[in-house]
């Protein structure tokens, strides 16, 4: 039985057939036919009306990353489409599956500079995994099926479908929807080469001081158990990237912490001592490696990744396995011999102790003085519990929260890692809460970042999204201030901020809110926030000129780690 339906209706039926139940979007002239059909799909498709299209993409990212599903966005042409570029770039960098439908002017007007026409295909090409312009209704099923297949498989990424208005209105015969499972030029899950696995296993089996780096790819592949099994069997310490946090619980004895510019000292220094470095699902970002020419020079680097173009892109590797992290680790595990590296593992202790004494103690457990970002994060994390999801914005709040949050469950961090998008956090937290309504979502943000996408408080108001928002407010663009402090003679060019009354602002949106100005108020305020059934804003006045330490200066090496203003790390080895 076939029936005649419009292209707009065909789009909605197609995405329903893909299992979509949530859409983040904003209507406009060139997408009205789709929104008109949406009116009748309310029972199956939950549309969240954001307040700015950028918010739609970040919300979809938060939703996708917490749920493992593909985030879906509907926006209009022209400015609606150009407003999604930041989110697309962010999703491209952080391998997040999105299908973004942009309205487009009618095919016959294309190229004529029609009202709200933009060359969306041209603009989005560098920041999408795939894009396609739908000009006739009979392409819809094919395009949607490919879009979901491409976005969600292999190394995930954003896809744009630019949907011309004439195709939305055109009538077509609707038949059964067929999902895409094959594209000749695209091999999302390559067959793992056993000889590569053998080679890597042999290197690991001979290693005296091996270390694992667990990245976002482990989370995407849901390979947390396999990673843990490998680490435990061969007694290998694990470090993570920022987006790899929560791929191994914070409390696991082999978890040695986060790598990178603001990572933990012990694993950072260990990159200079290990003999084998096993990188799983990560891409050697410069924020992880510092100066790549000095990074882990002595080590045999092994790279396991689903994206072949990452091999030897930033660092030279001695062996690689091309494949999905879960599949590869499953194949690797039986070939890796049981081992004990007690002495090697113990060698982390001195640096751990040093960081604890020189950095963590004063940041997380200060006895006096102004509130510290680290202590706020630590306390929120303790109350939020094991199942909580951390969402961060970008800057000092991001580094502090990622460093001091406790991770128990997988998929517990959502942060803009590659692009470093300020303003990412609020909509991403909303999306995360919608994607995982049963999990507490704690969102840490600075006074700068919250104002970049503050309009999305309207979404919290309209849909009652129960996110816990902690503003670490220092009246500064703190991370830039820190760089100005350390490297630009404290010339605070355009970083001090005069801020609105955030509590009044939140209340204007009907959101519970309170100020926290002293240590005495903190515990009770956090308790009230976490116990409250609904969204909550804590505006916490923290130390104005706080620092995120340790810090490996940009382009420098681990040995130049700074642990306090003017104080460099001294090796105890």
């Amino acid at each position: 039985m076939s029936e005649k339906i419009t292209g707009a209706e065909a789009l909605l039926r197609s995405i329903e057939a893909e299992g979509v139940d949530t859409i983040f979007g904003y209507p406009g002239g060139a997408i009205i036919p789709v929104f008109d059909r949406l009116y009748d799909h309310g029972s199956k498709l939950n549309h969240i009306l954001v307040r700015h299209e950028q918010g739609a993409t970040h919300a979809a990212q938060g939703y996708a990353r917490v749920s493992g599903k593909t985030g879906v966005v509907f926006v209009t042409s022209g400015p609606g489409a150009t407003n999604v570029i930041t989110g697309l770039s962010d999703a491209m960098m952080d391998s997040t599956p999105l299908v973004v439908i942009t309205g487009q002017v009618s095919s016959e007007s294309l190229g004529s500079d029609a009202f709200q026409e933009t060359d969306v295909i041209g603009i989005t090409q560098p920041v999408t995994k795939w894009n396609h312009q739908i000009r006739t209704a009979d392409e819809i099923e094919w395009a949607v099926a490919r879009a979901f297949y491409i976005a969600s498989t292999g190394r995930p990424g954003p896809v744009v479908l630019d949907f011309a208005k004439n195709a939305q209105n055109e009538l077509i015969e609707w038949k059964e929807y067929k999902k895409c499972d094959f594209i000749r030029s695209y091999i999302p899950y390559p067959e793992v080469d056993e000889s590569e696995v053998d080679e890597v296993a042999a290197i690991i089996n001979e290693a005296k001081s091996p270390m694992i780096i667990s990245g976002h790819g482990v989370m995407i592949a849901e390979a947390e158990e396999e990673l843990k099994a490998l680490a435990e069997k061969a007694d290998i310490p694990v470090s993570t990237t920022l987006l790899g946090l929560s791929t191994i619980p914070t409390s696991h004895p082999l978890n040695k912490g986060m790598l990178g510019m603001h990572g933990n000292i012990a694993p950072n220094m260990a990159t200079n001592r290990c003999d084998v470095l096993i990188a799983v699902g990560m891409r050697f970002d410069d924020r992880v490696t510092g100066d790549v020419n000095e990074f882990a020079k002595q080590a045999k680097i092994i790279h396991i990744d689903i994206d072949e173009s990452e091999f030897n892109k930033n660092v030279k590797v001695v062996a690689s396995i091309h494949g999905d992290a879960k599949t590869v680790l499953q194949k690797l595990l039986p070939k890796v011999k049981e081992a004990k590296h007690t002495e090697w593992l113990n060698s982390f202790a001195d640096d751990e102790k040093l960081e604890q004494e020189k950095v963590i103690q004063s940041e997380v457990f200060p006895a006096e003085g102004e509130l510290k970002m680290g202590e706020v994060v630590h306390k929120v994390s303790q109350v939020a519990g094991a199942n909580a999801v951390l969402v961060t914005d970008v800057g000092q709040n991001q580094m502090m929260s990622s460093r001091y949050f406790q991770y128990t469950a997988p998929k517990s961090i959502i942060s803009s890692g590659g692009l470093g998008t300020m303003g990412f956090g609020l909509p991403a937290a909303i999306g995360a809460k919608i994607g995982a309504p049963e999990r507490p979502v704690c969102f840490f943000v600075g006074d700068g970042g919250i104002q970049m996408t503050v309009e999305e408080l309207g979404v919290i108001l309209q849909y009652g999204v129960a996110v816990k928002i902690i503003i670490l407010n220092n009246n500064f663009l703190g991370m830039v201030r820190q760089w100005q402090d350390l490297f630009y003679s404290k010339r605070y060019s355009q970083t001090p901020m005069v801020n609105p009354n955030f509590v009044a602002l939140a209340k204007a949106y009907g959101i519970q809110a309170e100020d926290v100005e002293s240590r005495e108020e903190l515990d009770e305020a956090i308790k009230r926030m976490m116990e409250y059934d609904g969204a909550y804003v804590l505006n916490v006045k923290v130390e104005q000129e706080g620092y995120v330490f340790p810090m490996v200066p940009a382009g420098s090496t681990m040995v130049n780690t700074v642990i306090a203003p003017g104080e460099k790390y001294q090796s105890t080895k």
Partner: protein
């Protein structure tokens, strides 16, 4: 182009709108200037072939080729140095006939370069020569004194010296993979 080598990149792709843009973006990001570009249907039905030359170093071109191959719609991509391929380009020269007839060694030149006359009218003559860039360039130099009005060169086309036809093998493999899934 000090320290740089001329690399020939060949790309086999589906015949789809926008792929050339996607490929050229990858060159642009790495600030590689495209010296020549030729795109045409390949010997395989429905498969297009790009041949692109640019000066680069091996490491950069290796990374570029992997990033090109990652794009959806690209089937296979390879890179070669000149000694790994047989390559050719074609050049056309438009010269005022009057001037050309003044050349005492016209026959000699045409023979020397193995050039062809495609068209001759009262006003102008069009010569054609195929060969390596230095050969087409040399003929241009010899004809320069005759007031050449137009001189155009095609992009490079190339075939490999390798005995294996990797694209055909790849397409066969993918066909098999598709059948195995059904």
């Amino acid at each position: 182009m000090e320290g740089k080598t001329l690399y020939t990149v060949t790309i086999f792709s589906e015949n789809r709108v926008g792929l050339l843009n996607q490929i050229s973006i990858i060159y642009t990001r790495r600030k590689l200037n495209i010296e020549s570009l030729s795109v045409s249907p390949s010997s395989i039905k429905g498969v297009h072939k790009f041949t692109i030359t640019s000066y680069s170093d091996r490491e950069t071109i290796e990374k570029l080729v992997k990033q090109v191959e990652k794009r959806i719609g690209v089937l296979k991509s390879f890179f070669y140095t000149d000694d790994e391929i047989i390559y050719q380009e074609i050049a056309l020269y438009k010269v005022p006939t009057e001037k050309l007839l003044e050349e005492p060694n016209l026959e000699k030149i045409i023979r020397k370069y193995n050039a062809r006359i495609l068209e001759m009218s009262r006003d102008y003559t069009v010569l054609e020569k195929s060969g390596h860039p230095e050969e087409t360039e040399a003929l241009f130099e010899d004809l320069k004194c005759h007031d050449i009005r137009q001189f155009v060169r095609s992009g490079r086309v190339a075939v490999t010296k390798d005995i294996n036809e990797y694209v055909t093998m790849f397409i066969e493999e993918r066909k098999q993979a598709k059948e195995d899934m059904r």
